[in-house]
């Protein structure tokens, strides 16, 4: 599992770690009973305070996503069903960020929904007014 953090991100680091674990579950790179990196390994590779990693793991345990086994490490909970809980949860988190970004730019939910469908559908207008023409 590869965890990436952004220090420019507004989310606290422990929340970013939690979301990265959720994302691993949704993508299938993390599966039930898989071990997570130890607090020491992960804090060292991310260059963060080990308490931040412990905080993320403890919060994930409270959410039923992982199980902390004393002296053995942290593992993905055996009964975790990513599609039922983690996927909608992660989607809400991404939606919240997209909405905040839209609002920052003065866009409403409707603008965002329309643009999302256009971009997803490969609408020819997606690049705005003339980025394609401008390039030639």
């Amino acid at each position: 599992m590869k965890i990436r953090l952004s220090h420019a991100d507004g989310r606290p680091l422990y929340v970013q770690i939690m979301d990265e674990v959720r994302s691993g579950l949704v993508r299938g790179t993390l599966r039930p009973e898989d071990p997570l990196p130890s607090v020491r390994e992960l804090s060292s590779s991310l260059r963060v305070n080990p308490r931040t990693v412990s905080q993320a793991y403890a919060a994930l345990e409270r959410d039923g996503v992982v199980r902390i086994r004393h002296g053995k490490g942290t593992f993905v909970a055996p009964g975790v069903r990513p599609d039922e809980r983690e996927r909608p949860r992660l989607a809400r988190e991404v939606a919240r960020r997209a909405l905040a970004d839209a609002s920052r730019n003065g866009l409403a939910l409707g603008d965002l929904m329309t643009a999302l469908r256009e971009v997803e559908g490969g609408d020819p207008h997606q690049d705005g007014d003339g980025r394609k023409e401008g390039g030639q």
Binding site: L5, H7, G10, P12, L13, V39, R40, S43, S44, S45, L46, R47, V48, N49, P50, R51, T52, A100, S103, R104, G106
Partner: protein, 315 residues
């Protein structure tokens, strides 16, 4: 437009336990008040960063905790002891990286200097010292006075960490380190914190370099703390609000928080406010502002906002 109001940040961290406290600490150098009634509280196990402009008293404070500077008034407790009376004992329990990268025994080889440090700190972990020596690519045969600033820093960091002290005092620890060594140092410090129960006090102008490790922040100005609080509290309560406002907007009157900084032109304003996020957002909205974004500040940005405020108040 600018508008400044008092922004008193929290300064009391509660009842502890604390690894280091000072109470009404004062130190003058001639007519200069280096420390002026300073109440420091460093919780046990914290990674506490001291920020502040040049001359704010950061290094004097650290040297006072080390027992290297005698204070004139107030009280100091370091791991339960007063460094003014029991300086040698206190220093044996501290891993110290001084601001100055020159060595007291500059003619010694690095190896000899490290042996000297090992004798001084009975808990010296020789195996750990060797591991750090390898990671930092330290040449034990070099004489201390021939080391570059960055090489000296690495030797000092090794010596500070190798006895796994209960308290680390790091004065500009990343000064002189290149990108790769700085990154390695952060990795070493993360592992050190995971392996050894340690309280860390870092004084630095480069907060962004150590920010992911930090969990407490103290903002120092003119020998006093403007605030000391957990990083999460700073992140949650000192926020920047961007809002669009009507033409000729007169402001929200009473905000549910304290304005640290307000700037912007015409119809778009940016506020830095200490206070409850929902209450401030409501206050702005009720006054007719459309809040577009609310975001936390980095420790650097927070320090700049708070310190420039005091600068303007003073002038």
């Amino acid at each position: 437009m600018t508008d400044i109001a008092m922004a008193a940040l929290p300064i009391d961290l509660g009842s502890g336990p604390f690894a280091v406290t000072t109470r009404a600490l004062a130190k003058r150098f001639g007519a200069v008040r280096a420390l002026d009634g300073l109440d420091l509280q460093v919780p046990e196990g914290a990674v506490y960063v001291l920020v502040g402009p040049n001359g704010a008293g950061k290094s004097t404070l650290i040297r006072t905790i080390m027992g290297l500077v005698r204070y004139q008034a107030g009280a100091v407790s370091v791991l339960g002891r007063d460094p003014a009376d029991r300086g040698a004992e206190v220093r044996a329990d501290i891993g110290y990286v001084p601001e100055d990268y020159r060595f007291g025994y500059a003619w010694m080889t690095v190896g000899r200097w490290l042996e000297h440090e090992a004798v001084y700190h009975p808990s010296w972990d020789a195996e750990y010292a060797r591991e750090l020596s390898t990671r930092y690519e330290i040449d034990r045969g070099r004489r201390c006075h021939t080391l570059s600033k960055g090489q000296s820093r690495r030797v000092q960091l090794l010596a500070a960490l190798a006895h796994r002290p209960p308290l680390l005092l790091l004065d500009e620890p990343t000064d002189g380190l290149d990108h790769v060594v700085r990154d390695e140092t952060l990795s070493i410090l993360s592992e050190h914190l995971a392996d050894s129960p340690t309280t860390v006090v870092i004084s630095t102008h480069r907060v962004y370099e150590v920010e992911p490790l930090v969990d407490h922040v103290g903002v120092l100005s003119e020998g006093r703390l403007l605030g000391q609080l957990p990083r999460d509290e700073l992140r949650g309560s000192l926020l920047r609000y961007w809002a669009d406002v009507p033409e000729g907007w007169s402001g929200p009157g009473e905000l549910g928080g304290r304005v640290v900084k307000r700037s912007g032109a015409a119809r778009a304003i940016e506020w830095t406010v200490w206070g409850d996020r929902d209450a401030v957002t409501r206050g702005l909205s009720e006054a007719g502002a459309a809040v577009r974004e609310v975001a936390p500040l980095s420790v650097d940005e927070a320090a700049v906002a708070l310190l420039s405020e005091t600068g303007r108040k003073a002038s």
